[in-house]
Symmetry: C2
Subunit: 140 residues, 2 copies
DNA sequence: ATGCCTGCAAAAGCTTTGCATCCGC
DNA sequence: GCGGATGCAAAGCTTTTGCAGGCAT
């Protein structure tokens, strides 16, 4: 039995065609951050006849099941990525739109410290750096 | 000449009734984070006949002028707050919806360090902690 | 067979825009 | 008076939902 089937069974979701295809898309090499629309277009490209509404429903279920993580970056559209277990934050190159992942134990620690100082525990957090390539040395 | 008029002149915006009233709402005591809808409702409460579209247009102009800052927290609606000059991040109590502001020079420093390590400079950033009140001692 | 899933279309929620009118300077 | 600003309504976008039929178990 393949990996995707096992994954769906594991989280208690019925193994249906749309769910399999969508999960496979996220398992593809190099795929990282996709919007619902991105997923939908990829499905169309693979000659799949799956409705956009289903894509949204499945992504929501996957998120609830902990298979994927949803991010609300700027720009209106939510982006989803496979939850590979290790938490990380994001840096977005505002010129190219490229997304870079990073982790900082130090920042994580400080966040908890700050929350605790205010009498809270962190439930979740979102850290996004909007960046621009550092100016290269002039090439003239 | 009052403070709001000066502020509008300073950023080069014509001093109109809607812009004055909206700016005054943000200048009110205790006001911190408002959605466009919040601002609109407050205007209605003050017997003002200003359209929601105008509220959006004015908020957008204020943001471009640096008078207010726009945040895209979770939940679809953008929230705006007066830009009082000193940058800060946010902590949101997911139970009450309360927003707490905080600053951490340490985290700011680490962010720049991380961006630099990847060859970038930070253009902007967003850090939001979704928190819950720390569990009181069990009472059973 | 049963109950969850899906596709389609419609609706919903937030924000933007077209247009005729109005107002600040 | 002129050009930008506003109100209203309509449109735009992303996401959600109702419903009838379909499919996994």
């Amino acid at each position: 039995m393949d990996q995707e089937t096992k994954e769906l069974r594991r989280v208690g979701l019925k193994v249906t065609h749309p769910r399999m295809r969508i999960l496979q898309i996220f398992d593809e090499e190099g795929v990282q951050h996709l919007t619902a629309e991105d997923v939908y277009k990829k499905l169309l490209g693979h000659q799949e006849d799956i409705g956009l509404a289903t894509v949204y429903r499945v992504l929501t279920q996957f998120e609830a099941a902990g298979i994927i993580v949803k991010h609300n970056f700027e720009g209106g559209q939510a982006v989803y990525e496979l939850d590979r277990g290790k938490h990380h934050d994001h840096m977005i190159d505002v010129d190219s739109g490229k997304v870079i992942e990073f982790v900082s134990e130090e920042i994580e620690r400080l966040q908890h410290e700050i929350a605790a100082r205010h009498g809270y525990v962190i439930e979740d957090h979102s850290l996004v750096l909007y960046v621009r390539p550092r100016q290269r040395v002039r090439k003239d």
